[in-house]
Every structure is written in C-alpha cells, then in structure tokens.
C-alpha cells in the first residue's frame, strides 16, 4: 500500500460517506472501506481498473470525473477524495469546484513540482524532471497542469477555499506530495 494512503485515511471521519474520484484499482478505497467507513464508492475512467475494483468487492461507477461529477447533488458526500489526478484534467479548476460542491470536504493530493529534486533536475539537467511521482517523459505524460504545493495553496486562498498552509515554504521544498483537506 502506498504510504500516503494512511495519511489520507486518517483525514476521513469514521462512518462518513465518501466518494473516491479517480479511484484507480481501488487500493485506497479498500483500505478506507475496511478501516474507516463502508459507505464509500469510487468513480473511475479506466475499464481495467473498474474490473479490479469490482474484483475487490467495491462499489464503483465507470465514468469521467470531468463530465460525471455533475450528476451528484450538492453536499451528497462527507468527503470527496481526489488522489494525484488533478493535474491530468483538461480543466482542473472546474474539477475543484465540482469536488467542493459534491463533497462537504475534499481531500486532494498533488505531486509537488516544487520538490527540491524536481527543482534541481530542471536547474542542472535542463530537461523535464522525472521522479517517482512524475515517472513519464514530457511527450507521454498524462499531466497537463503541473503545480507546486505553493501554487495550490495560493489558488485556494484566492478562491476563498479553506486550506491548511503552515510552513508553506518548507513543505513546498521538501515534500514530494501535497495532501490537502479543503472545504468551501
């Protein structure tokens, strides 16, 4: 299990109602389902991942977050989770707005482009950074909108979205991944 799953799961209250957007093969959902709440379902675009979720006995809806979040009513989930897929959407701003409409709270994780190794890679090698969280080349990466932790926090502040932003400069340099609990 990815180590951030533990951190994400801790942000979710017991027996709350959760939607995992872009739930992948259902690993995080399964963990939350077994340990935190069994009222959890996922939205996933990849057919093979949908089948993996079904094999794990999870409730999954095959669909596209950019199109299909709008069918859920306002505040229909206590938590909406978006794990490391924000940067891959055509319109991340719309997705964030939808997350905060559908969920009372949203948990968003982003690969941090401000991580020191990423910065050094670009500074010294002069090529697009490739790290554990950003494994693809520029020509085949699904990531369209890379941002740093600082960018994301600035965005939330600008849009009056509540977000915890202590020790921002430190975290922006030393974190590979940003995990945020946000709410309107």
């Amino acid at each position: 299990m990815k180590k951030e799953f533990n951190i994400i799961a801790k942000l979710v209250e017991k027996n709350s109602k959760v939607l995992d957007v872009g739930c992948g093969d259902g690993e995080l959902m399964k963990y939350i389902n077994e340990n935190i709440t069994n009222d959890i379902r996922g939205l996933e675009i990849s057919k093979s991942n949908v089948q993996k979720c079904i094999e794990r006995g999870l409730t999954v809806i095959e669909g596209d977050a950019e199109k299909d979040l709008k069918q859920f009513p306002k505040s229909s989930f206590d938590y909406v989770i978006l794990g490391q897929t924000l940067q891959a959407f055509l319109n991340p701003e719309n997705v964030i707005t939808e997350l905060l409409r559908v969920g009372k709270k949203a948990i968003v994780t982003i690969p941090n482009f401000g991580y020191w190794k990423v910065r050094l890679h670009l500074l010294f090698k002069g090529t697009m950074p490739i790290t554990k969280n950003l494994p693809n080349e520029w020509y085949n990466t699904p990531n369209l909108h890379m941002c740093t932790i600082k960018d994301f926090v600035n965005y939330c502040n600008k849009k009056n979205i509540k977000i915890n932003s202590q020790n921002l400069s430190y975290k922006n340099l030393f974190s590979q991944l940003g995990i945020f609990l946000i709410e309107k």
Binding site: R41, I54, E55, V60, I61, E62, G63, Q71, F72
Partner: protein, 377 residues
C-alpha cells in the same frame, strides 16, 4: 411445444388490474426455480427474461430440450451459484411458455384469445410476478436482475416495490424505449401481420401459423442483437458451402444461412401473437414518463442497491441510455455501481460467455450478500 402442460404454474386468483383498463383474475403464471430457498429466506433472486426468453434460465429447457438461456450466468458453481442462491424465473404474462397469453382459451368464445387478449405492459408483467414472493413467503428478495426487457422489469419492479429487493441489476436496458427500438419492433410486427396465415391473430383455428412472418421478424431482430464488428468477425463475406456465388437468391452467404436458421428454429418455440404482445409492452415502457419526466422519482422511496451494466457494442440499448439510469440514481444519492463491459458481441453480450460481465455480477452479488450477513451478526 409438447409437454407445455407439465410446466410449473402458479394460478393467481387475486384480480390484477391491467394498465389497459381490463382486470384479469385466476390466470396462470408459469415459473421455474433453481437451488434452494434457505431457512432465513434471504437468498432468493428473481430473474426476468427478455423478449424471446422463458422461465428456463438454467439447465435443460424441458420443452425445447435446449440449454437454458442464461446458462453462462446461472447454475451450480456459476457466477450466480444455485448452490448458494435460490433463483426464480417466471414466463411473462403475454408469453407462450405456460403463462397467461394470447394462445390461452378465451372463456367467452371458447377459442384462443388471439388478438382479443388484452394489451399488457411491463408494469403488468411485474405486478403479476410479484405474487411469486407471496407464494414462496419471501419478505424481501436478495436481488432482481434481467437484461434487455428483463432490465426494464427490474426498473419497474424496484419502482413498484421499493423495499422488496436488497439489490437490483438492470442490464443492457433503458428507462424509456427509444424511437429506433419502437421502429424495429414495428418492423417485426408488420412482418407477422403481413403473413396470410396470421389471419388477424386467429390462426390457431385454421391450424396454420404465420411461421414465415415470425421467422422474418426474428431474423430482423437478430441482426439488432449483434454488432457490425461481431458480424464481420464471425461471417465476413464467407460463402455457405459453395465456392462461388450462385447468381440466385439462395443463401449464398453464411450470414444469410445463419439468419434463416435462426428464423426457422424460433418459430418452433415461439408464438407469433406473443411476439406482438411482448414487443408492444416494450414499446409502451417509459418509466421516465410514468414519473412526469423525472426518472429519479421512480427510485426515491427505494433503498435497493443497484449495479447497472452496459456493453460497448450494444447499439440497441446503448451505454448512454443505461447511463441515464445511473445519473437518475446518483442525483438522489442512491447506492449505485456502473460498468460498461467491453464486448464485440452487441446486445446479445448479456447472454454470452463474456468473463468481465459474469465476474461483475458474481462479485457484486457475493459482496452484497456478505455485507448483508455481516450487518445481521
């Protein structure tokens, strides 16, 4: 159709008011069961059949001596394991496998009903089958499922009886029969009616049935159950037992021969008037309209957990129409899963050996059943 008298029948004595206004009573509902109802009576699954189906979902159909139509899905050790679950399936009213239908005798005339049989709807079919729950003393089914017209019955069942099934699996269906599908059904009906033997529906007195018309209806319908790619792969332009074109109207191509065969075997097991009545019921199905344009309202009172399934190559009941049901359920916060299964086999996929499809149902049902039992402990 010999031995038809031997099928299991429930005589429904309570009057049933049909959507057309007529009331029927003391009518037969033919059914079959598989597996055993457990002591808690919490393992019962009601399966609904499609247009040309019947109550014999699994094993060998005693009337046709062919395999049950859902043999890939239902049976001992299958995705729906009848060693664990108790599966019930009934022949729809209007049908021709022992349930009340146009080939029954009209007591007023002592002749077959023919087209004097009342027009029935999906709602009527479901209301008739509801009596099976009382008959088996089942308070709540574990699941209702069905594909195509069977899926429509699933939707109608949950809408009519919101607390009578723990789970529901509508497959390759729609909440509102499309213009294209009405058109295709009308083609089949007109083909039957154009057969001289049809005699305005009273062919049984003449002992000559409209086999040609029914066969053509089946051929046309059968094409709609397949996909272009599936046809290309299975038949292409391959010739039927010949090296060259015959320059005639014989079945030169394998696809022609296949369709002719499908038409000819269908007439041995299906009644032309039933075909008219059942296709009509499908055309009249519009659950969205029943709830004044808001499909969500159909499921508002229900706590049934849904899983909806569509197939990539199904152009008869496309994913978009199945997705509308998902959207209706999500928009009122109901518990629903959805998967579009990859298959080149068209609408027929739900009857075939499509592993992702079979696994989806198996996992959904088994997980739901386990969760239910955890709750009780």
């Amino acid at each position: 159709m010999n031995n038809i008298e031997k099928v299991k029948r429930l005589i429904i004595d309570k009057p049933l008011k049909l959507d057309c206004g007529q009331t029927i009573s003391n009518f037969p509902l033919a059914y079959e069961t598989y597996g055993k109802l457990n002591d808690k009576k919490d393992n019962a699954i009601l399966a609904f059949h499609a247009l040309s189906g019947d109550q014999f979902v699994s094993g060998i159909n005693p009337i046709t001596n062919k395999e049950g139509w859902w043999n890939y899905l239902i049976g001992p050790g299958k995705a729906i394991d009848t060693e664990k679950y108790f599966v019930i399936c009934a022949n729809v009213i209007g049908g021709c496998m022992g349930s009340y239908g146009p080939s029954n005798i009209n007591p007023k005339t002592n002749k077959n009903f023919g087209t004097e049989f009342p027009v029935i709807t999906i709602n009527d079919m479901v209301n008739a089958q509801y009596h099976l729950l009382e008959f088996f003393k089942i308070k709540k089914l574990f699941s209702v499922l069905g594909g195509s017209m069977g899926g429509m019955q699933v939707l109608q069942f949950v809408s009519n009886f919101p607390d009578k099934s723990e789970t529901a699996i509508p497959i390759a269906c729609t909440a509102s029969h499309s213009a294209q599908n009405i058109a295709l059904n009308e083609l089949g009906r007109q083909s039957i009616m154009a057969d001289h033997n049809w005699s305005k529906g009273f062919y049984e007195e003449n002992k000559k049935s409209p086999d040609k018309g029914l066969a053509v209806a089946r051929m046309a319908a059968h094409i709609t159950y397949l996909s272009k790619k599936g046809l290309e792969e299975k038949f292409g332009r391959k010739l039927q037992e010949r090296d060259d074109l015959n320059f005639s109207f014989d079945a030169d191509f394998q696809i022609e021969s296949y369709l002719r065969y499908q038409g000819s075997v269908f007439v041995d097991r299906f009644d032309a008037n039933s075909y008219l009545y059942i296709t009509r019921a499908m055309d009249y199905f519009d659950l969205t309209k029943q709830f004044n344009g808001n499909l969500s309202k159909a499921f508002e009172k229900s706590d049934t957990k849904f899983f909806i399934i569509s197939f990539t190559s199904d152009w008869l009941y496309p994913t978009s129409e199945n997705r509308e049901i998902v959207i209706a359920l999500n928009s009122i916060g109901k518990n629903v899963g959805f998967a579009e299964i990859t298959s080149d086999k068209g609408h027929d996929s739900f009857l075939l050996d499509v592993p992702d499809f079979l696994n989806t149902i198996k996992n959904f049902l088994n997980t739901s059943y386990n969760k239910l039992n955890e709750k009780r402990i």
